[in-house]
Each structure stands twice: as structure tokens, then as C-alpha cells.
Amino acid sequence: MSYYFVVVSPTDTPMFEYTFGTSKAGGSGQAHFRNGESSRYMNQFIIHAAIDVAEEVQWLSPNMWLKVIDHYAPTNSHISCFMTGTNVRFMLLHQPGGPPAAAGSRTSTLSSSSIAQNPLSPQTDEAIRQFMTEVYEVWVKTMMNPFYKIGDEIKSPAFRARVAAAGRKWL
């Protein structure tokens, strides 16, 4: 499973981008998108397209956690979205598969393998929700930084490290 996480500002610009792979089931934490090199811009396109759906779904659900909102079939990418009160959107693109894990990693539990393989299972959903919630906490703290101007790109290395940690922990 490979992930691409973006924080999208209310004016549809990315404030923070982070690409990573799963750390469960012996994953190296490196992203292996199946569309290879082109995934760099393709993921942005897919996320950008999914804003359409986010704009629609946000009015239909009372929750901040909007679950999987979109699916891009050609690369089998799913997009989950978490919406903050100020219309900042946390978008996570997750793509199952990639190269199979190393042969020795048979010890993984059932639940973690289902996260890696099935993007629509309740376990995956729950894991992403936990991830989003954690990122949200960190994000709120970053926003409170007096040196941060609202709407700017988030450059704080601490924020990046915390997001990476959350990714390792839940995904």
C-alpha cells in the first residue's frame, strides 16, 4: 500500500505534501505507486479531481471524517478525506498493492495485512481515521504557532516528522 497525503487549503492549493509507503507487514515505508514515475503528477491530478467530491460530500455528512470519497479506477487509487472547520482538507490517496512484501514477513497479523490489501475494509477505514485524527491534532498545534501565517505552506520539520510518525503508527 502506498500513500500520498496532502493538506489542501481552502483555495485549493496544497499546503503540505507527504508521500510514504506502508510500514505494516514488513513494508519499508517507501511508496511504490504502480504508475511509477508518472505518479508524481498523477497523484496530484487525482487528488485535485477528488476535491470535486469533497465539496459535495461535505454538505451531506455532519462529520469531519468523510471516509473514502473517490476512486480512480485506472490506477486503483482511493481517496479519503478529512475536513477541518476552516475548510482545510486532509486528503489521503491510498493505493493497494505494489511489489509484494519480502518473503520473511509472514508474521504479520490479519488486520494489518487487510489494511495493506483492501482499501475499503472497515479496518483500513478505522486506521485512516486514526491517522487523520492524529494529524489533525498536530495540525492544530502548528496553526497556533505565532510564526505561521494562515494559508502559507507548512514548512515545519516537526510537523512533517509527526505526520511521518503517525503514518508509521497507523498505516
Partner: protein, 784 residues
């Protein structure tokens, strides 16, 4: 769009995309004036002889331009100009929807087999039609002149202007042409390639709502190239025209022999096709050679022997040459199967090379006679025959099945086996001969129902109703059949019933008016129903029957019909279009694949709100429904871009440019597009778009250089360049370098950017040095 890091410059991206917009337009105007018609201004587009070009462009324009005038067959000279009307912005949404609908409606037209005696075929050959008598009347059947009145099952009459029948050689319609499943798709692909090939560089503009003429071609050929199959009666003959000519030695005997052939001889239909179709007897009188009094007497004799279904057709046996004043060109045949069209294309290409282009011509009197014959055949024989069959079967089989006892019967059949079966057998019709199998009427070994099984007759009833455009009856009958087929595990039949159930429900005009609003109407089945029916049909076609062409047909038909039924429906349509790509029904890297991705974009773009409503409403609280806000503009733009990129990979820069413009236009509709799609926003995305448009422009410029050699530097008004072509190329090269540098991530100043934009037209001039740099860019853009 060329990127500009400096957001405060406020250079709207539409500005920079304007030059690309210009390019195809000027081109298409230039090519519209084909060398024959224009006097001076046309320039050679490619190194070919003018006659070759003219004849080819007229073939294509004849086929493509018919899209713009579905209601009247325009003459060829008109249709050559009709292409420009395809590009006109005046054509509105409703028109193009109707057009798609018309195409689909007309594709379900009755098939009439033609069985001609030796002498009749010879007469056709004398007239210059190598493929026998059927090919003489074929083009005239597609649109029956005048209105055809059809009475539906409840007795209401409706008249149709565009009713048509398809004449086929009886042999073909019984035994089927070669080519199944995957082969059809390959042939189609070849065909589209051929048409694209003939029009390299030329771009026919169409908006999001209009159908690309090439897609239209693809769809109509797909619809008309299905070989006869056991599971649907569309390709089984509804009638046969048994033809003799006045020179046939023993006319009545010959007619009897020919009839016998259709009944039990070599041309007897297979056991799944109904052999009880209408026989129509045609006497062709040779006006040039034979005595009319004699033929008239013979015709009277025919009428005595064979009843009312007879006609006397007076034709001249001489071939009509260019010089004859009273001749006219044959109308072009619209419904050809892909393979037939392909072979025809190759034939013309060969003839063109021999420098002899015989446009098929026919005497006006002959044409009038044939039109009268077709009209009489359809309105006095075929339609009444079909109406009568429908009411008969409806009464005998369908209504019993529909009633409460019918439910019981199908239950008892399911549970009780033989007893229930006997009941249904006796209740249906006395003329049904019994089949031997005891476990139902489906022969699972051979995979068909015998033609006289109630299930097969019901299917035939539904197909007849579809052909006569009584979609309500058709839909309810297909509905009935779905459960029957699924009980019998007749997969192919099941897939067909599901497919046609979708199509006939969606074609039903009574439901369409209420369901065009955002919520789908009550009378129309829920969207989930269509989803599951389509799922069932495509799965059965593809996995159980290995018929990708049929699967593609079912998906494309439903997409086209769903697309216009409100937002949710068109979202479903786009989902299925993507699904069709996903199922590999059109393989990656082929033009049909691109055509379908264009369709995805069009489905998604179809129901975005108008510009004003987005800007006003989104600022406030959402409308109470919450639906009016939703749109798929970004998705549509994304898919436009995808198809642009795929066209580019296929080397069709002008198509790519058009799709790219679409994408820019769509992105420009977004509220935050300036911030979002720039080097400050989604960086990589922006970069990719720039690379793509640069590659497209370079390729276009190159094509231009080959075609119009430097004469194109006219649009450059902002910064006039020297007339010296070398100067132009030098400048263009410099500009290119700048742009490439910028793509490497070194943003330049605002001033330079402006120069760049104003020079885009100059870039379209000669600029060979750009090529080496441009191509790797195009090749590296790997989408998947």
C-alpha cells in the same frame, strides 16, 4: 497554459492558451475548402494529388457530416460544407442529445433479407453494381421517404420520419459474416485508424456536449457490425424480398424455387431463428430491353399466386455514366458493418490510385422507383406484419405470463417441472411444436432456445417492439424475460435481456421528460437497477460468453442514454465508461481507448452548473438539496487531459490540442484555479500540463511547417516579426529554449513571459530545432 510563478502578475491562463485554440480553427477552415470547391486560397495539406485528397475528404465528410443533419440527407456538395457546421457553437445541447438518441434508435431497424435470382443480379451488374441486386436498393432502405405510421400495442399511432430498414443479402443475414467478438473490435479499431489517417492534422471541433465525429463513427459501426446471434432477433430477417427480373425464363417457377430455398433449402434459418418471416415478391422490369405489357401480365399472375406482398419495380438496365443528365449520385450508405466499410475504403483507395473514381450513379427515374418500392414495402407490408405479430404474441404469450396466472405458471414451472411446463405449452399457442427436452425449453448443450419456445418468441416480441419503437412494451417484456433466462441459466440470453432492458427503459420517451431534472423520476427504474442490470449483462457477455464486442455495445449504449438523464445518471455513465476502459474492452494505446476516455470527460462535464451559478451560490449556504452545488469539473478536466495525452501518444497533435483546450477551459471555470494550478499550487500537475501543451504546440507547429510552409505567421499581431522566415525560426527557437529552461524549474521574469505568450503563433511557424527536444517530452509523458 504556460506556467507563471509570479502569481501577482495576474496573467490569466486562458490568455496563454488562446494561441493553441487558434491553431485548429484556422486549420479546419483551410481544409474545409477542399481543392475542388475553393478557387485560390486553399493550400496543399499534404503531398498528395488534389483528386486523391478531394475524393477522400468527400467520403469522410459524407459520413462524418451526417451527424450534423440527422433529419435530412444533404447532397454531397452540401455535406462537404456541413463539416463547418459541426464546429459551429450554435448547436445546442438538446440537439446533440437528440442526435445520439436518433442514432441509437435507428440502429435498431428491421433487417430485410434480399434474395435475388440470377437474372436480377445480372441486371444489377449491368447497371454497374458489382455486389448484386441487394446493393442497388441498400442505400435507399436506410431512410424511408415520408412518414411511417406505426401503431403500438395499446393502439396509439405514432409517425416516424426517420424509419428505416436494412437490406442485406439473405445469405449474410442467415449465416452471418465472418468475424466475432474480438475480431470485430480489431476491425473497428482499424477502421477508426483509417479514418483518422485520412485526416491527419485536420481537426473537427466539437464541444463537451457534442459527440466527436469519430466516436460517432465508432459507435454506429459497432452497433451495425454485430453478426447474427441466437440471443437477439435484431439481426434475424424480418422479411425477405424475393426478386426476379423480367428476363427470368420461368418466373413463377423461379419464385417458388427461391421460396423453397428460404424455407428448407440452403438458406433455411438455423433452429433458433424464426423461419416464419414475411416473404415479399419483387419483379424487376427492365425498361431498356423488355416489353412492359408482358411484365405487367406477369405481375398480375404473381399477384394471383402470391397475394398482396408483390411489387413491380421498373429499372433501366443501362449503367448511368457521368455524362447522363438525368442521373444522380447514389446516397451513401450509412449503416455498414465495420468490415464492409473497411473493405469499401480499401477498394476506393485502390481505384483512386488507378486514377478512376467512379462515383456510383443512378438514373433519377430509377431512384424514384426504388424509393416508391421501399416505401410501399415498409409501410404496407413490413410494419403491418410486425404490428400483427406483436399483437399476436402479446396476446398469446406475454399477457398470460404477465397476469396473476402467469406468475403462478412460472412458479409452477420452476418448482413443478413437467406439469407446469405442460400447462404453459398448451396455453401458449397451438401451433407450437413441442420440444423434446423435459427440463425446460433451453437447450443448454447448444446454447439456444428453439425459435418456437415461448422464451424465444417473447424475445422476438420484445425485439420487434424495439424496432417499432414501442419501448414501453419492449421494456416490460425484457423485464419478464430476465427472470426466465436466469432460471434457465441461459447466460447469453440473460445478458441480452439485461442489456435491452436498460436500453429500452432509457429510450422510453414518456419517461424522459420528467427525468431530465436533477432527481430521477419515479416512473424510471432506480439508477441502481440500471447499474445492476449493466453489471449483469457486461459480466455475462464478457466472462461467460467471451463477447467483448457485445459487452462494449451494452456499456456504450447505456452510457449514451444515461448521460443525459441528470447528474446522478451521468455520474453512473462516467463510472461505466471508466469501467469499460478498465475491463480492457478497448485496449490501451488505441484510438478507441482515447475516444472512450473523451466520453468519460464529456459525461462528467455534461452537468456542471453554469458559470454564474457557481460563483454566486458557493459563497452562501448550499441550496437545500445540496445537489445543485455538486459538479465534476475537475474530474472532467482531468479526463480531458488524459485523452489529450493519449492523443499525443498516438501522434495526433491537433486532437490533443483540442482536448487540452477543453481542459484549460474547464479548469478556468473553477473558483480558485489561478492559485491552485500554478507553480505555487499543485506544482507537478502544472508542470505536466505545461510540458504537454508545449509538446502539442511543437508537434502542431511541425505539422504546419510541413503543410503550409511558413505562410502561417499571420496571426502574430502583438509583436510583428520580420517577413524573413529564417528570422521567425530563429526567434521561435529562442522562445522554445526559454520555455524549456523554465520547465527545468528556473522561473523567469514577468516581462519575458509576456513575450513568450505573444510568440506562440510564431512558434507554429518553421522550427525544426524544437523537434528533437519536443519529442522526448511527449514520449516521456507516461500516464499509466
Amino acid at each position: 497554459m504556460t506556467s507563471q510563478g509570479d502569481g501577482s502578475a495576474g496573467q490569466p491562463p486562458t490568455d496563454s492558451s488562446l494561441p493553441t485554440l487558434d491553431i485548429p480553427k484556422t486549420r479546419s477552415i483551410a481544409t474545409n475548402e477542399s481543392p475542388e470547391t475553393s478557387s485560390t486560397s486553399s493550400l496543399p495539406l499534404r503531398p498528395a494529388s488534389p483528386s486523391l485528397l478531394a475524393s477522400r475528404s468527400s467520403t469522410l465528410s459524407g459520413i462524418l457530416s451526417r451527424s450534423s443533419s440527422p433529419n435530412g440527407r444533404s447532397s454531397l456538395s452540401l455535406s462537404r460544407f456541413a463539416r463547418s457546421s459541426t464546429a459551429s457553437p450554435l448547436s445546442n445541447i438538446a440537439d446533440s442529445n437528440d442526435e445520439t438518441r436518433t442514432l441509437i434508435v435507428r440502429s435498431f431497424s428491421p433487417v430485410v433479407g434480399v434474395l435475388a435470382s440470377e437474372e436480377a443480379d445480372n441486371l444489377a451488374r449491368e447497371k454497374g453494381f458489382q455486389h448484386g441486386f441487394a446493393s442497388v436498393i441498400q442505400p435507399y432502405g436506410e431512410r424511408v421517404p415520408g412518414k411511417v405510421v406505426v401503431r403500438d400495442s395499446v393502439g396509439a399511432s405514432r409517425s416516424w420520419e426517420d424509419f428505416g430498414v436494412r437490406f442485406l443479402n439473405l445469405k449474410d443475414s442467415i449465416q452471418g459474416q465472418a468475424g466475432r467478438g474480438p475480431e470485430i473490435l480489431d476491425t473497428l479499431e482499424d477502421l477508426v485508424e483509417q479514418y483518422l489517417e485520412q485526416h491527419t492534422g485536420e481537426y473537427i471541433s466539437h464541444g463537451f456536449h457534442e459527440m466527436s465525429p469519430y466516436y460517432r463513427l465508432f459507435l454506429s459501426r459497432l452497433l451495425s457490425s454485430q453478426p447474427p446471434s441466437q440471443h437477439e432477433a435484431f439481426s434475424h430477417p424480418v422479411a425477405a424480398v424475393i426478386t426476379i427480373s423480367s428476363s427470368t425464363p420461368s418466373p413463377i417457377e423461379t419464385l417458388r424455387n427461391l421460396y423453397a430455398q428460404t424455407a428448407q433449402g440452403g438458406l433455411a434459418p438455423p433452429p433458433y431463428a424464426n423461419p416464419e418471416y414475411l416473404r415479399y415478391y419483387l419483379l424487376v422490369h427492365d425498361d431498356d430491353k423488355d416489353d412492359f405489357a408482358k411484365s405487367s401480365a406477369l405481375f398480375d399472375q404473381m399477384k394471383r399466386h402470391f397475394g398482396l406482398h408483390c411489387h413491380l419495380l421498373r429499372l433501366r438496365s443501362m449503367s448511368c455514366s457521368e455524362e447522363d443528365q438525368d442521373g444522380e449520385e447514389m446516397p451513401q450508405q450509412e449503416w455498414l458493418s465495420a468490415s464492409a466499410d473497411l473493405s469499401k475504403l480499401q477498394e476506393t483507395t485502390q481505384l483512386v490510385e488507378l486514377d478512376a473514381i467512379p462515383a456510383p450513379r443512378i438514373f433519377s427515374t430509377d431512384a424514384a422507383a426504388i424509393r416508391t418500392f421501399v416505401r410501399e414495402l415498409v409501410s404496407q407490408s413490413i410494419v403491418p406484419y410486425m404490428e400483427q405479430r406483436i399483437s399476436l404474441w402479446n396476446e398469446q404469450i406475454a399477457s398470460r405470463r404477465r397476469g396473476i396466472s402467469g406468475r403462478f405458471m412460472s412458479l409452477s414451472k420452476r418448482w413443478g417441472g413437467v406439469g407446469g411446463l405442460g400447462l404453459s405449452r398448451t396455453s401458449s399457442a397451438s401451433n407450437l411444436s413441442s420440444t423434446s427436452s423435459s427440463s425446460g425449453n433451453y437447450d443448454s448443450l447448444q446454447g439456444y432456445y428453439r425459435w418456437d419456445a415461448p422464451e424465444a418468441l417473447l424475445r422476438k416480441l420484445a425485439d420487434f417492439a424495439t424496432m417499432l419503437r414501442d419501448y414501453k412494451l419492449a421494456a416490460s417484456t425484457y423485464e419478464l424475460l430476465r427472470s426466465d433466462y436466469s432460471n434457465d441459466k441461459a447466460w447469453r440470453y440473460l445478458a441480452g435481456a439485461n442489456e435491452m432492458c436498460c436500453v429500452s427503459n432509457l429510450l422510453n420517451p414518456l419517461l424522459s421528460s420528467s427525468s431530465t431534472s436533477s432527481s430521477s423520476s419515479k416512473s424510471l427504474p432506480k439508477l441502481e437497477t440500471f447499474d445492476s442490470m449493466l453489471e449483469a449483462s457486461s459480466y455475462s457477455y464478457l466472462t461467460r460468453c467471451n463477447e467483448p464486442a457485445l459487452a462494449l455495445r451494452s456499456i456504450l449504449l447505456t452510457i449514451e442514454l444515461l448521460k443525459v438523464r441528470g447528474r446522478l445518471a451521468s455520474e453512473l455513465a462516467s463510472k461505466w465508461a471508466i469501467r469499460a476502459l478498465d475491463l480492457n474492452l478497448a485496449s490501451q494505446g488505441t484510438s478507441s481507448h482515447v475516444l472512450i476516455s473523451e466520453r468519460v470527460a464529456s459525461c462528467l462535464a455534461g452537468n456542471r452548473p453554469s458559470q454564474s451559478s457557481t460563483t454566486t451560490i458557493t459563497n452562501h449556504h448550499p441550496a437545500s438539496t445540496g445537489f445543485s452545488l455538486s459538479h465534476r469539473t475537475r474530474h472532467a478536466a482531468f479526463w480531458s487531459l488524459t485523452s489529450a495525452e493519449e492523443w499525443m501518444k498516438l501522434g495526433r497533435a491537433s486532437f490533443a490540442a483540442a482536448r487540452l483546450d477543453d481542459a484549460h477551459e474547464l479548469y478556468a471555470e473553477l473558483k480558485h484555479h489561478e492559485a491552485s494550478i500554478s507553480s505555487k499550487g499543485f506544482k507537478d500537475m502544472n508542470e505536466f500540463m505545461d510540458e504537454l501543451s508545449l509538446a502539442v504546440r511543437m508537434k502542431l507547429g511541425q505539422a504546419r511547417q510541413r503543410g503550409i510552409s511558413g505562410a502561417s505567421a499571420t496571426g502574430n499581431l502583438v509583436e510583428p516579426l520580420g517577413a524573413d522566415p529564417l528570422g521567425v525560426s530563429g526567434e521561435a527557437e529562442e522562445v522554445l529554449e526559454e520555455q524549456l529552461e523554465k520547465l527545468d524549474g528556473k522561473p523567469k521574469g514577468h516581462q519575458r513571459q509576456l513575450t513568450l505568450n505573444s510568440n506562440v503563433d510564431a512558434m507554429a511557424g518553421p522550427m525544426s530545432p524544437g523537434r528533437q527536444r519536443g519529442d522526448p517530452l511527449g514520449a516521456d509523458d507516461d500516464f499509466e
